[in-house]
């Protein structure tokens, strides 16, 4: 039996796919920016921050890194309302992505901070900067530059992971694919198209991260 591929449904349903791509982009834009910010804050705590905060942050990072994103999402969306914390599906998706990226970002950025030569901290201190000023003006940007490729990959991974948010009815690209295949009964073709769109999104996101990196980091001088 030869299976005949049929993509004629695209003519009718492509606006839904476009909308799905838009929501997925929206998720990773907001989740990515806030997640990296949380990652920087946690990395600062773990590397240089007050000792009392280090243990709670370490526990947070280990808990998130050792449980599936989907369970984190379900816990936030289905579990937290039991404590009186009701929220919409988009809010839950944002929180889950920020919390998830924050933990992975923390570990990645911390590695960047750890690779900072001691002299940088001493130089900052000798200019009468407080430890926080030294971190903010001297240490942070070169640290981010060191780990930018790893951070970019992690953001792509979080974007691909956001496919799961369709399970709590966030109308992202996966949700669109699920909806379309329930109408056109062409599941394989529908998922083939949406997978290709995800691949393009991943490639585009990696390019964008490279451009952002080139824009915010000074060119490395030849040593």
């Amino acid at each position: 039996m030869a299976y005949v591929f049929d993509f004629t449904w695209l003519a009718e349903y492509w606006p839904l796919l476009v909308k799905g791509v838009r929501i997925t982009l929206q998720l990773i834009l907001i989740g990515g920016v806030l997640g990296v910010a949380l990652g920087i804050a946690c990395a600062w705590v773990r590397a240089l921050g007050p000792k009392a905060l280090r243990v709670p942050v370490a526990i947070y990072v280990e808990l998130i890194r050792n449980t599936p994103f989907m369970i984190q999402l379900f816990f936030i969306f289905f579990g937290l309302p039991a404590l009186g914390l009701q929220m919409g599906e988009m809010t839950a998706a944002y929180i889950a992505m920020v919390v998830n990226l924050g933990a992975y970002g923390c570990e990645i950025i911390r590695a960047g901070i750890a690779a900072t030569p001691r002299g940088q901290f001493e130089a900052g201190a000798s200019l009468a900067m407080t430890p926080f000023e030294t971190f903010r003006h001297v240490v942070l940007v070169p640290s981010l530059q060191r780990i930018w490729p790893a951070l970019s990959s992690q953001i792509v991974i979080v974007m691909l992971g956001s496919a799961v948010t369709s399970q709590i009815a966030v109308e992202d690209l996966t949700f669109a694919a699920n909806f379309i295949q329930s109408r056109n009964f062409r599941a394989f073709e529908t998922y083939l198209v949406s997978t290709a769109l995800y691949l393009l999104l991943a490639i585009g996101l990696r390019q964008a991260m490279g451009l952002i990196g080139a824009a915010i980091f000074p060119k490395r001088s030849a040593r």
């Binding site: 369970i71 984190q72 379900f74 289905f78 992971g161 496919a163 996966t174 997978t195």
Partner: protein, 219 residues
């Protein structure tokens, strides 16, 4: 209405967790075998094979695992057979793990100094002999920590198979929630079971990595 104690919930979840463990083991082992083949293609002398491996890795690392599971589920169905969820879940996870393992191992092979290739070639070894006797034993030492680390990703990846209907820990969590109406407790416990499975592996990978760094210090 039936009352469920926390112990009832936990017992059922742990009972389902064996499927998570089994699927993880199968995916990791199968992914290792396929990954080794992709690795050989990736470092082969033939340009076509290398291209294929690069494309394979890009494809599986650049698309959501969830989409791969859907494609395996409905794609295998196109062959005209009734696809059980475990078959689609297992095959998708094996192919997905293979891509990541091949990429991890490629880094380890490239970490072996170039002189080792040249030295073994100058002893008249063929490509396979070089890999078998000189390169892979050295790459293996570097490969163990990140490979153990990746096993954590495999365990977490199996959670997605619940969406295509494979009844493992996450699916059991949803089923138990629907029966007990206690999502906070149930998903909290599900997360803790995953943590109990993953955290020891993470720690082990971390300690292996530190040992390796100690061994390399002073070189």
């Amino acid at each position: 209405m039936i009352e469920f104690s926390t112990w009832d919930i936990l017992r059922n979840l742990i009972f389902a967790a064996r499927w998570t463990v089994l699927l993880s083991l199968v995916s990791f082992a199968g992914g290792g075998v396929v990954g080794l083949m992709i690795l050989f293609a990736r470092i082969s002398k033939s340009k076509a094979l290398r291209r294929f491996a690069i494309g394979y890795i890009e494809l599986f690392q650049g698309t959501p695992l969830l989409m791969q599971l859907f494609l395996a589920f409905f794609g295998l169905g196109l062959l005209g057979v009734d696809v059980p969820a475990w078959l689609a879940a297992g095959s998708a996870l094996i192919l997905w793990s293979a891509a990541f393992l091949a990429e991890i191992w490629r880094g380890c092979v490239e970490a072996v100094a170039k002189g080792q290739w040249e030295a073994s070639a100058s002893l008249g070894m063929g490509r396979l002999q070089q890999l078998r006797y000189v390169i892979l034993p050295q790459a293996l030492r570097v490969a163990v920590p990140p490979t153990v680390g990746f096993s954590v990703q495999v365990i977490k990846g199996t959670a997605l198979t619940s969406i295509i209907g494979f009844t493992e820990l996450s699916k059991a969590g949803t089923i138990v929630t629907n029966a007990t109406f206690q999502p906070f407790t149930v998903y909290g416990l599900v997360a803790l079971i995953y943590f109990a499975l993953c955290w020891p592996l993470s720690r082990y990978a971390h300690s292996l990595e530190r040992k390796l760094h100690v061994a390399h210090r002073g070189h």
